[in-house]
């Protein structure tokens, strides 16, 4: 036999030796690490087992404002935080039911006032620090602190009193509610558990609201979600990496998540997102408009498009019903006299062609709405709410009853005038970045023209629009949309309570301005504490009926959830609850042979 030993030099021998040493050291370290984690109670997820590795690229409409779950209110921030943080009990986006998360189990006392939660053993934050009951106590303290202004705070006040927590031992906590809480354990969804070891000092200094910017060094930020901070490039992208301490596994015992990296690209416009997805730069796309969806569906190349059905977004028109007292401009006061008249609002509602909105704006991929609960939310929609067809005659009758009349202008087109003979003219604000809503407003403009109303559509940059609606309150009417984050009515409590900041037509009232708003307040509070779900449904049905009678919001339509993903993405199961695609980001994986794995 010939000697097949390759020629070697001393240098490569040394390298070989080093390599062997490195392998030994690494395997010992892994063994040690496994030993320390042997008492971990991991959550095994059912579903297709995937393969590890690779990176997935997702586009975000805007740069997230913060990584801090305590202060995040914008959608991009919430989407990113959702992949970096975890909650005690989680609502499964596919089944809409609760399931164990950081708490492996929970027990409810017979009076419905005490929830005993047991945490998983061996949980660690993404920086390796262990989690215990103290972190949960700290988290609740932070969310309930009025000085922090956490958006979650309202949900944690039951019967006028905040939830109290007591620690039984390092693994067990008891949450005490002052009154039975209708939502039950759903309240824990979205309450990201905060790392006390990183945040306590800042909190005591009263600066918790100011930290968590995207440029935070990766080693000073931690969570319990599937991914952790890696790198941020201002104006371009945010890169998250796999959290090695994540507490879920797949059916075969592999620790999730599968992906090594999750990249959020900041792509400001919907069209640019479509282009990036089409060119293969991003792996998934969500929040698609119907027209872009049909463009992508028509030329499918290596990706799959999915229509997940009607989501929880509801679009509506509302009028400025704020009472600014002496500060009201006479012009606005004159218009508000019409807007406050329920018959006027009913007439507008009767004149709106909702079917046309679904057809022209959503190309049929949506549903007409007569209330805030969409057909996608089968459990909570009130089937008794009438769906009157569009009727200009009815609208004219309502206006006539309310004292409006028509004059024949010189051009021959009748113009609507109020009792004082002033022509009915107003403007509708829309967000200039949202073509769908601008289109809705333009359709409404034409609908109302047939009633003799002169309407202007004013597209405004989104932030200045929100500023006008909630701060300066200088506007006539506005077309907006809201997305419930959960199917439960509690997710919209801020919209229906007259004291709520999202009670858009007249936000943050000290006392309800009208009897029907007072009744809605009463009903919303009552459903909050009703334990019987049938009773809650009855109460919420009444809220929907009041809305339909009084039309403070004229509900228009709800789009289907339209998403797409490359064929190489495994476990792609879009949901109608946000985040539509990333809700199971810990289970998403790149199919083997995926050419973009090394990108």
């Amino acid at each position: 036999m010939t000697n097949l030993r390759p020629r070697s030099c001393g240098c490569s021998k040394l390298l070989g030796l080093l390599f062997v040493l490195a392998v030994i050291v690494a395997s010992v370290a892994v063994a040690l690490a496994q030993q320390t984690h042997s008492n971990e109670e991991l959550l095994a997820l059912s579903g297709e087992a995937g393969s590890s590795g690779g990176r997935m690229v997702v586009s975000l409409r805007a740069e997230p404002k913060t990584l801090n779950p305590v202060v995040a209110t914008d959608a991009p921030s919430q989407e990113v935080i959702g992949t970096m943080q975890a909650d005690l009990v989680h609502i499964n986006r596919a089944t809409h039911l609760t399931e164990p998360a950081l708490a492996k189990s929970w027990k409810v006392s017979s009076d419905g006032l005490d929830y005993t939660l047991t945490l998983r053993q061996g949980l660690r934050f993404s920086d390796g620090e262990p989690l215990d009951a103290e972190d949960v106590l700290f988290t609740l303290r932070v969310y309930l602190d009025e000085g922090v202004h956490a958006p979650q705070r309202d949900l944690l006040i039951v019967g006028g009193k905040p939830i109290t927590v007591t620690k039984i031992n390092a693994q067990t906590l008891v949450f005490h509610f002052a009154k039975p809480y209708g939502v039950g354990e759903r309240v824990f969804d979205g309450l990201a558990i905060l790392p006390r070891h990183l945040l306590e000092k800042t909190y005591q200094e009263g600066k918790l609201g100011q930290i968590g910017s995207l440029s935070t060094p990766a080693n000073q930020w931690a969570g319990l979600g599937p991914f952790r901070l890696k790198e941020y490039v201002a104006g371009q992208r945010l890169i998250l990496e796999r959290n090695p301490y994540y507490w879920k596994t797949d059916t075969q015992g592999h620790r999730l998540p599968y992906l090594n990296e999750l990249v959020f690209l900041f792509v400001p416009s919907a069209d640019a997102q479509v282009l990036r997805f089409q060119s293969g730069e991003t792996d998934v796309i969500s929040r698609l408009g119907a027209e872009n969806f049909s463009v992508l569906a028509r030329q499918q190349r290596g990706y799959t498009m999915a229509d997940a059905g009607p989501g929880l977004e509801y679009n509506f028109l509302f009028f400025n019903l704020n009472d600014l007292g002496d500060k009201t401009a006479p012009e606005t006061a004159r218009k508000q006299k019409w807007f406050r008249d329920v018959q006027f609002r009913q007439a507008v509602s009767a004149a709106v062609d909702r079917e046309a909105i679904v057809r022209l704006v959503y190309q049929g991929r949506g549903a007409a709405l007569w209330g805030p609960v969409t057909p996608g939310n089968r459990r909570w929609i009130d089937a008794a709410i009438p769906h009157p067809a569009r009727s200009l005659d009815k609208a004219r009758q309502l206006l006539r009853d309310a004292g409006f009349r028509w004059t024949n202008e010189a051009q021959g087109e009748p113009a609507l005038v109020d009792a004082e003979g002033k022509p009915v003219e107003f403007s509708i604000l829309t967000s200039s970045s949202n073509a769908d809503r601008t289109k809705m407003a333009t359709l409404i403009q034409d609908d109302l023209k047939q009633l003799g109303m002169r309407v202007q559509v004013v597209p405004l940059e989104f932030r200045s629009l929100i500023d006008r609606v909630t701060q300066s309150k200088e506007y006539d009417a506005c077309v907006l949309g809201l997305v419930s984050f959960d199917a439960d009515p509690n997710s919209d409590i801020n919209v229906w309570l007259s004291s709520g900041g999202t009670h858009l037509w007249n936000p943050s009232q000290e006392h309800p301005a009208t009897p029907w708003e007072a009744e809605m307040d009463r009903l919303m509070v009552a459903q909050l504490t009703a334990t019987n779900s049938e009773q809650r449904k009855k109460l919420y049905d009444r809220v929907q009926e009041i809305l339909a009678e009084n039309q403070p919001m004229i509900f228009l339509a709800s789009p289907d959830i339209l998403v797409g993903a490359k064929n190489t993405i495994g476990n792609f199961h879009p949901a109608v609850l946000e985040p539509y695609v990333l809700w199971n980001v810990d289970q998403l994986y790149l199919r083997s042979g995926a050419e973009n794995a090394g990108r």
């Binding site: 919907a270 069209d271 479509v274 282009l275 408009g289 027209e291 872009n292 049909s294 463009v295 028509r298 062609d353 046309a356 057809r359 022209l360 190309q363 049929g364 021959g412 403007s427 604000l429 200039s432 073509a435 289109k439 333009t442 359709l443 403009q445 034409d446 202007q456 559509v457 004013v458 597209p459 405004l460 006008r468 200088e474 506007y475 006539d476």
Partner: protein, 344 residues
């Protein structure tokens, strides 16, 4: 003679094009803001001469469009029914040239809609929108150019004729104006205006602002012509005979600038049409539902429109003959002016 014929040719085409735009109400079968919600993004109607049975019709006809089942932007022709294209039919009300109330349209069909250039996302007739949009855009161009020339001529003549410190100040001022980033200025100006501006107000805003901002370049040109004219022998002679400034300007100097002004006008009109289009495209121009060429092109900002509906590009094509004629006229004018100068 050839030059004059060339000039006449361009002028005739231009007048014809403007005539069509001016009579938009007559040429277009429908009102430009009338929505047909059953036919969003309908493709241009196909005119047929040959029917299914193979018979030839002298008068063109079309088949009604029907949305394809389950799809909301694709259509198929219903060949069971033919619809004859009729000429000189009564239809929606309009005012001919903005004055004479009228109902007569060049063509139309009974109980269906004909879209020679397709329809937009609201089922509005593209042909009508292009023609009516032309009225807005061209008027903005004309008025804008008029304001600019008026200002530029006045300022340029003063600077050139009187010279001295007046010239210094005016020309430095002109340089300042040339350096202004006018688009940002308009953005800023729009922010100061009340929230909802009626179409007429925003139209006037565009015209006045773009008109006033553009005076510097023509002013410099006029100034240079005036400068050279006032030193010419016959002007000096007239001054020597005691002619007043007014007389000199009117009799000797202004006629010298006439060809320059005409050429400038033909160049400036398309420029201002383009300015209006830019502003409307960016959403600063006349608001929906009023049509203008910029608004029509604004639809193309949406990727889905760009990819799906080719007839939405047509407004961009329509501009081409207009601009071509204006520039052709400008060069013909220039040639003619040079020639007559040599002859004279």
């Amino acid at each position: 003679m050839i030059r004059r014929r060339k000039l006449a040719k361009w002028l005739a085409v231009l007048v014809a094009l403007h005539g069509v735009i001016a009579c938009a109400g007559f040429v277009a079968p429908y009102d430009p803001v009338a929505q047909d919600r059953q036919h969003p993004y309908a493709p241009p109607s196909k005119l047929h001469f040959l029917d299914k049975q193979g018979r030839v019709h002298i008068r063109p006809f079309l088949y009604p469009l029907r949305m394809r089942e389950g799809l909301f932007n694709q259509y198929e022709e219903e060949t069971a029914r033919t619809i004859l294209l009729k000429f000189f039919v009564d239809g929606s009300r309009y005012k001919l040239l903005g004055l004479v109330p009228c109902r007569l349209h060049l063509f139309g069909v009974d109980d269906a809609r004909v879209y020679l250039l397709g329809s937009d996302g609201y089922g509005r007739d593209q042909l009508a929108r292009i023609l009516y949009g032309g009225q807005v855009s061209l008027l903005a161009g004309w008025l804008g150019a008029g304001i600019t020339l008026f200002l530029g001529f006045g300022i340029g003549a003063i600077a050139g004729y009187y010279g001295g410190w007046r010239d210094e100040i005016l020309m430095r001022f002109a340089e300042l104006f040339l350096a202004l980033p006018w688009l940002y200025l308009l953005f800023g100006l729009r922010a100061f205006l009340p929230l909802s501006v009626s179409p007429l107000e925003s139209f006037l805003l565009i015209v006045v602002v773009s008109g006033t901002l553009g005076w510097a370049r023509p002013a410099r040109l006029v100034r240079s012509v005036v400068l050279s004219a006032k030193e010419r022998d016959f002007v000096r002679a007239a001054r020597g005979f005691g002619a007043s400034d007014q007389y000199l300007l009117r009799r000797h100097i202004f006629p010298e600038t006439s060809s320059l002004l005409m050429t400038q006008a033909t160049i400036l009109v398309p420029q201002y049409v383009l300015a209006e289009m830019t502003l409307s495209f960016l959403g600063l121009g006349v608001p929906e539902p009023v049509a203008s060429w910029g608004n029509l092109l604004g639809n193309l900002q949406q990727y889905s429109v760009l990819m799906s509906y080719w007839w939405m590009y047509l407004p961009a094509l329509v501009i081409v003959p207009f601009f071509l004629c204006y520039l052709g006229l400008a060069s013909a004018l220039q040639e003619w002016a040079n020639f007559s100068k040599i002859e004279g």
